[in-house]
Symmetry: C2
Subunit: 367 residues, 2 copies
């Protein structure tokens, strides 16, 4: 079912994607299915449970496909996102976020009564104290300690600090210590392994069981085997892939399920083309690139700058020419997860024919 959006120009099932109104991201069903199958098979081969992060797609059907392929459950970043997917019947949900505030905690408690597999993370006394106040022993909340194993984001800074926080969780009647969680950078597998091993030894010494060790990251996905202590792996971007994943060697252009369709609306001067996809479509995520996306089939085109609804492309190096005014291009975005977040409806296709439309159910939730 789609939201009632009378002013949105939506394609119909059966339309050819080269005819639909632009700018518009579209998802290639076959590529997405192959991405889901490939990574699930990889994790199965390692004997590692897999937990896709829904941030990349925010779609009920895709989460269902990931679970049907063998995923253990899902990873969300917000209470509201978890509510959306729990409402669709998913029971095993890990929210990897420090949750604060009376309203969020009240809704988290309601969600914890609704599903049995809810889990959250915490990295400080303050977070644990807030959770401890909001939950009681009759329906305890499962809490993992977030560990900064070198990624430099959130997380306790040492195995000793992880143990101390686990003790605090164990001491709270309304909480249950469920394990350890991290989001490392690529190439850190051995370091993460050592960090977790030390922590597990400390926990064992303290008599604290640790059911889960949750590792993550699409960038380090195919290094998951270098951290064998992990019991599960989380990743999001793999489902669509994007230019950043291409650069990492994770995938080729033919594995990128999301392309952003755009129309050349101006060729104001030699060497310059302007398209109808700007920062409100592609976003300004550079992710270390020098420009704002890869134009499929035109590797020398440089999306030099973005206005809100215009993309400014330097085509001066395009030896074989470039599409003319009114013609189409397809862009592999630098970062697919943020493009998802710009649209209320996602369009799927197979071999260029629109197969279905779906509300981006978990978009725009605060919180």
């Amino acid at each position: 079912m789609l939201h009632n959006r009378p002013y949105e120009m939506l394609p119909a099932v059966g339309d050819r994607i080269e005819d639909i109104a632009t700018p518009r991201p579209v998802i290639d069903e076959a590529r997405m299915a192959a991405n889901i199958a490939r990574v699930q098979a990889y994790m199965d081969g390692l004997g590692l449970a897999f937990r896709p992060h829904i941030k990349t797609h925010k779609l009920l059907s895709v989460a269902a496909a990931q679970i049907a392929a063998g995923a253990r459950g899902i990873n969300c970043q917000k209470v509201s996102e978890a509510e959306v997917f729990a409402g669709a019947g998913i029971d095993d949900i890990l929210i990897t976020f420090n949750i604060f505030g009376a309203e969020k905690l009240a809704r988290l408690a309601a969600l914890n009564r609704q599903i049995s597999g809810l889990k959250v993370t915490a990295d400080s006394d303050e977070v644990v104290a807030g959770l401890a106040d909001a939950f009681a022993a009759d329906r305890p909340l499962k809490v993992l300690v977030e560990c900064d194993t070198g990624g430099g984001r959130c997380g306790v800074q040492s195995p000793q600090a992880a143990l101390a926080l686990a003790r605090q969780i164990v001491a709270a009647p309304g909480l249950r210590f469920e394990g350890l969680m991290t989001y490392p950078k690529a190439g850190m597998g051995a370091q993460v392994e050592a960090w977790f091993r030390t922590t597990l030894d400390l926990l064992a010494g303290a008599g604290i069981p640790c059911p889960m060790v949750s590792n993550a990251g699409t960038p380090s996905l195919f290094e998951a085997g270098t951290t064998p202590v992990a019991t599960e792996y989380r990743a999001g971007t793999y489902v669509y892939n994007d230019r950043a994943m291409m650069r990492m060697g994770h995938c080729t252009e033919a594995d990128c399920a999301m392309t952003v369709l755009a129309t050349v609306v101006s060729r104001p001067a030699p060497g310059r083309a302007v398209i109808d996809a700007g920062s409100k479509t592609l976003t300004s995520d550079l992710f270390g690139f020098a420009d704002f996306g890869h134009v499929a089939g035109y590797p020398q085109a440089v999306i030099r700058s973005l206005s809100e609804e215009h993309g400014h492309i330097d085509i001066s190096a395009c030896e074989g020419g470039f599409p003319g005014i009114g013609e189409r291009i397809a862009i592999i975005p630098n970062h697919t997860c943020v493009v998802t977040n710009m649209f209320d409806t996602m369009v799927f296709h197979r071999d260029g024919i629109v197969t279905r439309l779906e509300d981006v159910a978990a978009r725009g939730l605060v919180w």
Copy 2:
């Protein structure tokens, strides 16, 4: 009226903004009203008609307030946006975009029958040809020629090219030549004036009346008087203002109507704070800044990087300390127009008390 979004955590009228769920942009009603009044008075003082661009707010109530203050009409970037505001009773709408595609042209034609003040722009033979095919003499479409007067975006490259395109518009039975449009950079007022003067002379020589000369840009707003040939001025960002406008000296922090409320969710290590506002809230628009927003009251804080739902702040230079875990900050975004685009509901307040909520009616429209 608000869309039915059961999972969104919305505040209630009367709530204190320091209590509402974060991350959330909020609009200070008094500051916004002052911004609207100040710029309208400035334009009135110049005797220049004013046409606000709705891209910054995408809200029906704000467009109505701008028109009530004296604005001539509005500026949109998409047919669908124009439909939203026409549906709310606004008649004078300029769409500053080259419009292509059967569906958009059909809807543009329907809109042109619905309101009498619809106008679009064109900068090439191809755009004019497409428009000419879609409109007939019984209800002609008003078309302005977009001129690249130095801004380097879209637009014909010379006064001679503007004349040639105006001739093509005049020759099309379904089109009416309505004037000239530009989006210059700041500091180009005299150059724009000369460009337009030359073009007007050419048009006069050809016997082509030119009712409108539309100039634009919040960055050059207070230089509008340096292009007296213009008959109207377009601007969007002024309604909220943002960090980029502060840098230009256009406004002070006290004139910024939009602030993004966020919560400190982690202080993982000395010198680092992590907030719950990331690239899916603030966007990655740097706009020439070295970081992703200005933390109100903490000028030494540096929002160094954004994950999707986390902001990573370097607080090592904050001499007076920084809010602790669970405490709030308010951020002046680098670019307010793109933050608007991330949210389905906008929250207004007066002196920190929520006054009303409004659907971001023109958000997420493709096209």
